[in-house]
Symmetry: C2
Amino acid sequence: MENFSFYSPTFFEFGKEAENKTGELVKRFGGGKVLIHYGGGSVVRSGLLDRVKDSLKKEGISFVELGGVKPNPRSGLVYEGIDLCKKENVDFVLAVGGGSTIDSSKAIAAGVVYDGDFWDFYCGKYITEALPVGTILTIAAAGSEGSPDSVITRESDMMKRGASGDAIRPKFSVLNPALTQTLPAFQSAAGITDIMAHLYERYLTNSTEVEVTDRLIEALLLTMKHEGPRVIENPDNYEARANIMWAGMMAHNNSCGVGRSQDWTSHDIEHELSALYDVAHGAGLAVTMPAVFKYVMKHNIMRFAQVAVRVWGCCMDFEHPEVTALEGINAFRSVLISIGMPRNFGELGAKEEDIPVLAQNLCYGNGRDGKIGGFVTLTKGDCEEIYKMMV
Amino acid sequence: MENFSFYSPTFFEFGKEAENKTGELVKRFGGGKVLIHYGGGSVVRSGLLDRVKDSLKKEGISFVELGGVKPNPRSGLVYEGIDLCKKENVDFVLAVGGGSTIDSSKAIAAGVVYDGDFWDFYCGKYITEALPVGTILTIAAAGSEGSPDSVITRESDMMKRGASGDAIRPKFSVLNPALTQTLPAFQSAAGITDIMAHLYERYLTNSTEVEVTDRLIEALLLTMKHEGPRVIENPDNYEARANIMWAGMMAHNNSCGVGRSQDWTSHDIEHELSALYDVAHGAGLAVTMPAVFKYVMKHNIMRFAQVAVRVWGCCMDFEHPEVTALEGINAFRSVLISIGMPRNFGELGAKEEDIPVLAQNLCYGNGRDGKIGGFVTLTKGDCEEIYKMMV
């Protein structure tokens, strides 16, 4: 096990009607003038936004609003949010939505107290200072509600990049599983896929003697394998939603990633797809992961055999462990397809002829030196092969 | 799943030589004048105390010292610590030791800023204010390094009781597994048992639809089952120590206990043993748990069958699930015995003739109304039966 630091100071309020505590929570964490940041009309139509505002008013907290966050959130709205916060002397950013809204809120929170261009943080500068952020989560997926990370797409060149810093970890996150019951099935499934991807990216390690974190990841994968299909079958299943929502947070606050190298190859390969085609991140991952896993499998057959046996219920073939390893990848892919995720480029809306551009952006965009990958180092040629496997 | 709040803001610095960062960490969390609180001579002899002092000096932080914490820490030393802190204007309490030292430090930290008798907190008053506490952990066991809890024994009547409050959660905890390599085997084994008890107390729930927390508990039990015997076989196994140390923290910061009722029967029953005989808490638990589990098993056979299958590798007897349930309890007991834990009252140093007093103190001591138990409500008569099963 490698040396590590672990810090996850977010306060989580979990359960039915938890959003009614928003006002108390903002007050507890020092907010006096709030920016409520959100996406489309669903949080308005569902009445969630009104409940949140009522909760703030009850505590005498004033607020301004900025809606319009899109999936794969854009830099343009971040600049707008920063200007609004400065103009209105906002001291707390409240995200009401999913990962995109939270990521956009984190970018705004960091940008408000920074003299330069907020995009600097998305080019590698660590975020050490930001306005406090709180979240009211409406989809279990990105894990941004408990993470120090944010991903934004720059509109000028559709470059999709991440930033990080303990300063943008939410002070609190409100997790009410009931809020996710009205999601379209496709969005629920994409969220489930994203959560499982966060677990697999941590599972693909080159560190040894990491039994505790292996077991924790497997525990959450087992949970997702059990609860994911239940939610797709019955969208109103509060209990399955609750298990998924908490697993989604645990999958990405790094509880399950300490003391080990991690991968993030699938995320990097997928980011190019969602930047170019604006597809749902989870849907992109569903097509990406099986291809990546099959391509890198030979690097450590036993790791893939282990997850196949412990999570996917495969019988270990001790003579041919590669058979078991592959069986586990296929079992995972079957679950993703069964919950409605796309299986290839065509179903995703991606084009084979774009592969050279995708691989070029991936390996040389934003200062990269031609290589990606934590588990296995991959060249542009490798990445082209992986994209071809997805066709 | 029940509604819940979860908050675990402790910063963990984990790994080899992590104690050399103590000075930086105290500074980061606002300490200027430190009480170094510790137990016996081992932290002095090993040179750990000197390394900690050097680290503080390097950051220009002054300190006073108070040693002498005993297992099952006593109120007398807490009063002494409170007086010392007041006299010396201490603003940060640093525990160098195991659960007893940390619990004593938490009591001191709460007592210093409280006008009344600190024992009020151990009679049910919630701790809302305390000096900041940091820890340098020397044994994986109690989980106090990441918990809001403290257990102290009052010397006047040997009453052993707990207190709680987010204010006494450590600001940081330094976890260096190498520091545990010099522990006597018995202490390591008692620590392993305590960690597994923290997991079982959370496993015995009456809540339903708690797949995610069930799976997480099972993950840590599987880790302990694998790594525990490795440590006893080879005390210098850093990697096994590391897995156990992190599992020990995760087992008790409530990551694995949210959204569900918990039990704590075994702890309550054991506390009377360690208060009366001053036995190691983990050793007392090793004798207590199998008896409690066998006594309460019929309340929910499937829960015990589930852990038997998922953790202890038992084959499910679908016709007689109670056979599987019992097989799992026996498998757990075998592991405890194999690592050197006592199996009965005799080996523990407890006396059958004390059972009426034990049960009386347990069920009527410190304001209790004759009943204990979260999983099953137990009367004094039930508790006497359980103590008898331990003879």
